[in-house]
Symmetry: C2
Amino acid sequence: MTIKDIARLSGYSLGTVSRVLNNHPDVSEKARQKVMAVVQEMGFEPNANAKHLKMRTRTAIAVLVKGSHNLLFSDILEKIQAKFAASGEEVYVAYLDEDADEVQYALQLARQRRPKGFLFLGGDMEYFRTGFEGLEDPCVLLTNNAADLGFPNLSSFSTDDAAAAEEVIDYLFACGHQKIGVLGGNLSIDQISYRRLRGVYHSVKKNGLAFDTTKQYEPCRYSMEEGYRAASRLLQKEPGLTAIFALGDVIALGAMRALADRGFKIPEDISVVGYDGIVSSEYSIPRLTTVRQDAEQLADRGVRTLLQNIHYELPPVHESVPFTLMRRESVRSLDGKETL
Amino acid sequence: MTIKDIARLSGYSLGTVSRVLNNHPDVSEKARQKVMAVVQEMGFEPNANAKHLKMRTRTAIAVLVKGSHNLLFSDILEKIQAKFAASGEEVYVAYLDEDADEVQYALQLARQRRPKGFLFLGGDMEYFRTGFEGLEDPCVLLTNNAADLGFPNLSSFSTDDAAAAEEVIDYLFACGHQKIGVLGGNLSIDQISYRRLRGVYHSVKKNGLAFDTTKQYEPCRYSMEEGYRAASRLLQKEPGLTAIFALGDVIALGAMRALADRGFKIPEDISVVGYDGIVSSEYSIPRLTTVRQDAEQLADRGVRTLLQNIHYELPPVHESVPFTLMRRESVRSLDGKETL
DNA sequence: AGAATAAAATGTAACGTTTCAGAGCTGCCG
DNA sequence: CGGCAGCTCTGAAACGTTACATTTTATTCT
């Protein structure tokens, strides 16, 4: 069933049918009605491949890194999809694994689809170095700062991770915590964790203390399972901790469970802070203190910018969107000075 | 940059280049090397649209219903993607909203892509009635029973929801709970909730008791927010409940938070059971007793069957995959007879 | 009424691939 | 030495659309 069949059946020509289907002007009401009637009757659906081949245009594409486990990305993705749908754009989603080869393959597949543009969500951009070399199409990075990463010509929107992490540690200090452990990604490839940890350093230094990465930092992936295990390891090597800052809510949730299993009460015995502000953090018991990244604004700015870049040529922008430290039940003040 | 350019640059013809690119025989080693060299040098990527137009073949497609919030679907989806990737299949994912119009539109878009087949995850199939009428392509339903739904010619794999729900209530009764409330989807459109509730009825009846839907059932969507609110409503109208069975883990998690906010201790004051077995249920505090659906097997059977259906014509199958009642901390035995 | 203009419909050339029938070469056999 | 396989390779015809240059038909103006 092709447009040709519709033309034959309706008695009109190919061109006319095409114009009817695409709501072009210069077609009589009579022709429109007749054509649409045949289309309805035959249940015809235009072939997107042929269309896109001809038009040399295609869907915007979002690529998720470490995606399927980071619930923040799910949140953002959902919003992105809704926004693109509202502008009548199709979306092609590819979840990327940790494995570098797979990333290359997925990226290649995505490029073969000839998308209008790319939207990247998070991730260890190292894997993309090679893939990006020849990328001409519009491209926006979310939750990562493109300039920092060495891609100054790409636009990006992210939370000011260093500032947020600094605020977290400042807050913990204000609550009287001195022995703080941190859980996060592999610092050599995960620039996001790296940036957050820089904020930690900054605060620690500002407060006249020291942070020993080998002792106080424990790397893990962004999942509850890994958070659980990493917290256990951290606790074992540094038993006296009064607070744990997890560089991701899913890690924090896993850590809380590990703590509970070891008989710690949260926040009475130990305080926990997360990062991201996923919905689960609001419903956990106890409610998790966390840095809320603005998924809505991230998605909105990203989609809008990408859409603009597709239509006009624009200089790249690197913006931070505001974050909020959500002070909830999982942090306790040791000296009673600072309260929830 | 097209195959034509490669042909010109390499000095070979279109056909030869195409054969090299697709690893066809009948091409000399010399030609292969030369062509590949040019391809590498130019960074050429074949145009997927043209290819698929010509080949009349395309990606398998998964469509998610109420998807973005139900974490079980995220789990299954991830596995599905991995499996298809392993067979070298591309995957096109569409998240479907609650809105019937949007569902129609998304389905239409999906069909225009000319996929090899469809894989549906959950959902209120009512919305698809019309969309399915003309569907010729292979199609598999997951977490829903196609035969029950009136699509006997589609294959489907699901958990035996009624049996699982019955086991849950039996267990609750064995623990001495008599006053049980249930939280789940809108029964008039959500067949999955409907089936689970039938299991509840069955157990209640078997145990010589009664279940009053208007009093003991509170409908809500599959999200923590809604679970929280529904639990609050239920508690208000039926204060004496000793146990709550949520027909979805995210609902259960929301409900637990609502309970905690009202000063109930779980499971001391009230027991909670979920359904799905998402990873969060294992890490919540307390750990959630739930029915674990086998995401791995569901994904495996679904993908395999769809792939087979694409290659050969096969009679539809409707199978149940085994479930497990995970007895965890969120349920307490009132009389001490049944323990964790 | 005839010409000029606007509106509607047509025909055809792409878009970038794959495929298939056949055209040159070898080299081997009788 | 003619012929017959095998290999390689070529050229052209699709695949289902859209867009552009035309042609046909209807409308208006002097």
